[in-house]
């Protein structure tokens, strides 16, 4: 195939598209969607965001088993999540990935991973990926932290250095959880880091 500018000129009639963006994530101040939707927890019980909520707030973190970025952060996720529970902040980790795309993201591996990491909180399956979709989540790991009134006060990364915990300068999520537990404002409400794109399950036909 060899294209020249002259071959392409007719396409100039087609307007340049607006910058594409996938579903926008929840805005700061928004309430958690699909709070009552039940998910299967690694312990075998059903849970929901509502049932995981704490008196001081709720941390929802989308994660999975296969992603190297999740693996780099997973011990920190466990530590932050377990500490959050002690501070009255409820925690639920949610795996939205389709295990057909990533076999390592299957339920049995979730069970083993939660045990290995010592999660004291539920690691649940978003069996339709609809919860991740409703949050506008795009990748793993991606954290959404709600305050005691249920408003989103933090969205983003665990911290600023997945590779080297000793080099972390900004422990964003840990600080946000601590602030929420104390009823204080979160200083860095939106942060970013790279991660693995969520492999959403195909929408169910009606």
């Amino acid at each position: 195939m060899r294209l020249t500018r002259w071959h392409l000129l007719p396409l100039a009639l087609i307007a340049l598209p607006s910058l594409a963006a996938s579903g926008a994530p929840l805005a700061i101040g928004a309430k958690a969607p699909m709070r009552e939707t039940t998910m299967k927890c690694v312990g075998g019980s059903d849970t929901s965001i509502a049932s995981a909520a704490g008196k001081n707030g709720t941390l929802v973190i989308f994660m999975c088993n296969h992603c190297p970025w999740v693996k780099a952060w997973q011990t920190r996720i466990a530590a932050i999540g377990n500490a959050a529970l002690d501070q009255g902040v409820g925690v639920i980790a949610i795996n939205p990935n389709d295990p057909a795309a990533y076999p390592e993201d299957d339920f049995d591996t979730m069970v083993a991973r939660a045990h290995q990491l010592g999660f004291k909180f539920c690691y649940a399956v978003d069996a339709t990926s609809e919860i991740a979709t409703s949050f506008g989540a795009s990748h793993t790991p991606e954290a959404f932290l709600f305050d005691a009134s249920g408003k989103l006060v933090y969205h983003g990364a665990v911290d600023d250095n997945a590779k080297d915990e000793s080099a972390v300068k900004h422990p964003w999520l840990k600080q946000a959880v601590s602030a929420v537990a104390k009823g204080k404002p979160v200083s860095d409400a939106e942060t970013k880091a790279m991660g693995c794109s969520i492999k959403f399950r195909a929408p169910r036909s009606s």
Partner: protein, 182 residues
């Protein structure tokens, strides 16, 4: 060396010889056959560095793809990306490949690039990650793979996250090439 391994190497050599995708932003046609199983230089780059690359004269459009060697959808879309870019090189498309891997993954990065016949300069994300993401686009979440299309003046005109097929690459690039002044 067995007959099988010789034939495999021959097939790779042919693929490499047919590849030669100009990804260094120079706009030069690359006719030399790169060494077997060798990628070009992988140069650290910040978001500012990418802005300079895409604004450099000599291209009518630039496509920047941020990928990682461990990232399955990145690997899966790579052949379609290269195919679209190679077919449009003579029409003025510049390809900038940016690995988001960590430094210790460089051998895997080089092996992957070499396996796809990418012998020109490519790039490795450098510096503060959040600044890199927002520097490329505040609308990028950080999810990989991520693709950005720039016009001849280095203005961002399209972007998306996640795996794309060749149609997605070609439609975005062809619109940008067509909109460029002759």
């Amino acid at each position: 060396m067995t007959g099988l391994s010789r034939s495999m190497l021959a097939a790779i050599a042919i693929a490499v010889a047919l590849a030669g995708c100009g990804s260094d932003g120079s706009g030069r046609a690359e006719h030399s056959v790169p060494p077997l199983a060798a990628s070009g230089p992988v140069v650290p780059v910040t978001a500012d560095g990418i802005h300079q690359l895409v604004a450099r004269p000599g291209a009518r459009a630039t496509i920047v793809n941020v990928w990682a060697a461990w990232c399955a959808p990145c690997r899966e879309e790579f052949p379609a990306l290269l195919s679209a870019a190679r077919a449009r090189r003579d029409a003025g498309l510049r390809l900038v490949l940016v690995s988001a891997d960590w430094d210790d993954q460089l051998p895997a990065v080089r092996a992957f690039l070499a396996g796809h016949g990418v012998a020109d300069t490519t790039y490795l994300k450098s510096g503060d990650e959040q600044q890199f993401i927002n520097g490329l686009s505040p609308r990028w979440s950080g999810s990989l793979p991520a693709t950005f299309v720039y016009d001849a003046r280095g203005r961002l005109v399209d972007q998306w996250e996640g795996m794309a097929d060749e149609q997605r690459f070609t439609s975005a690039v062809d619109r940008t090439l067509a909109a460029a002044h002759p």
